[in-house]
């Protein structure tokens, strides 16, 4: 009996330490979220750097309204238009990427040809390159294609540079589907497109979810392509507009914080509701999916 309490005690202390450490870590990760929320909720009278950590006096949505609609009086352009630009950019680009990736993945997993084992890593290299090394010709080519400065141009860029990661995720997904299934369908007289349409496409929905979440979040969060390809504020996506807003001296910091929260919201919601699929994309990015 005595022996039992003695062995139990140190375990309990270590449990407390484990939870304490986890709570301290959680506080570090949640600190910016706390500031984002309370600052956005403050009224304009309360916005003062020396009261940064204090709770707001009540729920005020002025900052969000200013960040979203802008304010003519203060010369602030709202983020509403840019938010919609990001939607018009991310949704079509995500869909095109997913379709292209699934076709490529299907061919590379089930219709290997001579050289496909060399081609695949050459393709994958494209997702690791620093995009600075392609920006100069990219701008010239987009200008020649009359795509420069438009959302369409940005969609095109994201679809092209999304090929490696979407192909990778689909290839790994299709590789796990037994080849016997394909062979059986071939004997039954099904062709490459029939096999895709009737067998692989219907069972690849989880793959589509992973790829679409991954592409949506990386396109939504992209800044480099957006800032290079779109120079007019009316076509700029959310990240560029937020960065401009944050760099402007007329914009109060509570409005900046409200803008940051609006910019983070779509991908954050996806993470909260579809986190499992988000994780799979994440691990695929390190090639071990």
């Amino acid at each position: 009996m005595i022996a039992q309490t003695q062995t139990r005690r140190p375990i309990r202390v270590s449990r407390i330490l484990i939870y304490a450490a986890l709570f301290v870590a959680a506080a570090f990760y949640l600190l910016p979220v706390y500031v984002l929320f309370i600052t956005g909720m403050k009224s304009f009278q309360e916005v003062n750097l020396s009261r940064m950590w204090d709770l707001p006096s009540g729920f005020h949505f002025d900052s969000y309204l200013t960040a979203w609609f802008g304010s003519e009086k203060e010369g602030i352009t709202g983020l509403a238009g840019n938010f919609m630009n990001s939607i018009y950019l991310a949704i079509p680009a995500t869909l095109f990427s997913a379709v292209l990736g699934s076709l490529n993945g299907y061919v590379l997993a089930k219709w290997k040809f001579r050289g496909s084992n060399v081609l695949f890593p050459l393709m994958l290299f494209g997702m690791f390159i620093p995009y600075q090394s392609i920006l100069i010709p990219l701008v010239q080519v987009l200008k020649n294609m009359s795509l420069y400065g438009s959302i369409q141009g940005l969609i095109f860029v994201h679809v092209v540079y999304g090929i490696p990661i979407t192909t990778l995720i689909f290839r790994n997904y299709f590789a796990e589907i037994p080849t016997e299934l394909i062979e059986a369908a071939k004997i039954d007289g099904a062709g490459i497109l029939g096999i895709y349409r009737h067998i692989l496409f219907p069972i690849s929905m989880p793959g589509f979810v992973v790829v679409m979440i991954w592409q949506f979040q990386s396109i939504w969060n992209d800044f480099l392509f957006a800032v290079i390809v779109t120079s007019r504020p009316t076509v700029q996506p959310m990240t560029v507009a937020l960065n401009n807003m944050a760099g402007s001296y007329v914009v109060q910091w509570n409005v900046q914080m409200a803008g940051a929260l609006i910019a983070a919201l779509p991908t954050l919601l996806i993470f909260i509701f579809l986190g499992r699929y988000f994780m799979r994309g994440l691990l695929a990015g390190s090639l071990k999916g």
């Binding site: 450490a21 986890l22 750097l49 600075q132 392609i134 010709p137 991908t267």
Partner: protein, 345 residues
Amino acid sequence: MVLKTLGVFTERRMCRISTDRIISLVMIAPSIVAIAIFVYGFIGFTGFSSFTSWNSLVPDFTLIGWRNYERLFGTIPSDRFLLDLRNTVCFTVLFLIACIVLGFLLAVLLDQRVKGEGIFRSIFLFPMAISFIVTGVVWRWLLNPGTLQTGSSGVNLLFERIGLGLLRWGWFTDPTIWHIKPETGLGQFLASVGLEGIASPYFGMPVAIFSLVIAATWQMSGYTMAMFLAGLRGIPEELREAARVDGANEIQIYRHVIIPLLQPITLSAVIVLGHISLKIFDLVVSMTGPGPAFATDVPAFFMWDTTFRGNNFAQGAAIATILLVSVAVLIVPYLVNTMRTEAEL
């Protein structure tokens, strides 16, 4: 008769297969062409441009050899690239250590069958879902040191509130560079062996970079945590049991059994985070900019500044090429190795 039908059947099948083969190539061809042009062709063009004198808005492809590269490695007053290299090395080393240590500790803690594991995991991971721009905007305010007139702000103010006022400092506005001073004993020793160059700010550590490291670690450490947690879950309990039977304590089990088993994961984390760190751009733009005396400037930012603000295209191409080579040195062996192990399976 039977043989004949069979023959026709296989013939048709063969025919079918070769049409399928053509269709398969048609399906993948657009992507191959796109990658060939937009990745390899463009890299080639950038590499070529870096040897030209295209340093204005009007393209000029006169070859001038390595001059754009030589200019990058010049010292004062045009030593920005050397400072960028220093910053990248400092940032990469600190960022990797922080992510791996923090990620590993969090994974070990979460592996202790804690209550609410899912919630903690989400809290550590959610920053990965948001943009570096958002991270930069928020952390810029959090680490804003405040001014003498208005008093401290952000984390400095928090330190004051909890009685740790001595911890407050200038964060990313601090221009201090830690380096070996030439007049110290070590500095004189280095000078005596002909290495006086090391006792200079070029081989120092800009303290402003810590702010970038904190924000980047906040965002990316969840990734290492997830990788290590998956790795820990993959280690069979029997291995720990066996070590315990052999008389090892918990710390020894981690040192001699678990950490060696997690080495492949650590290596992938180093490569994935390392290449992200070499390319870091968005966070610098939104959080600090080039900083005091280029203390937080990085090659990716310098390239953007040179090319798209300064219109020095050839010069920018040279920076981009160096950046690409540094990433390729890290990534190509990794890709080759991954493909080889996959082929063996």
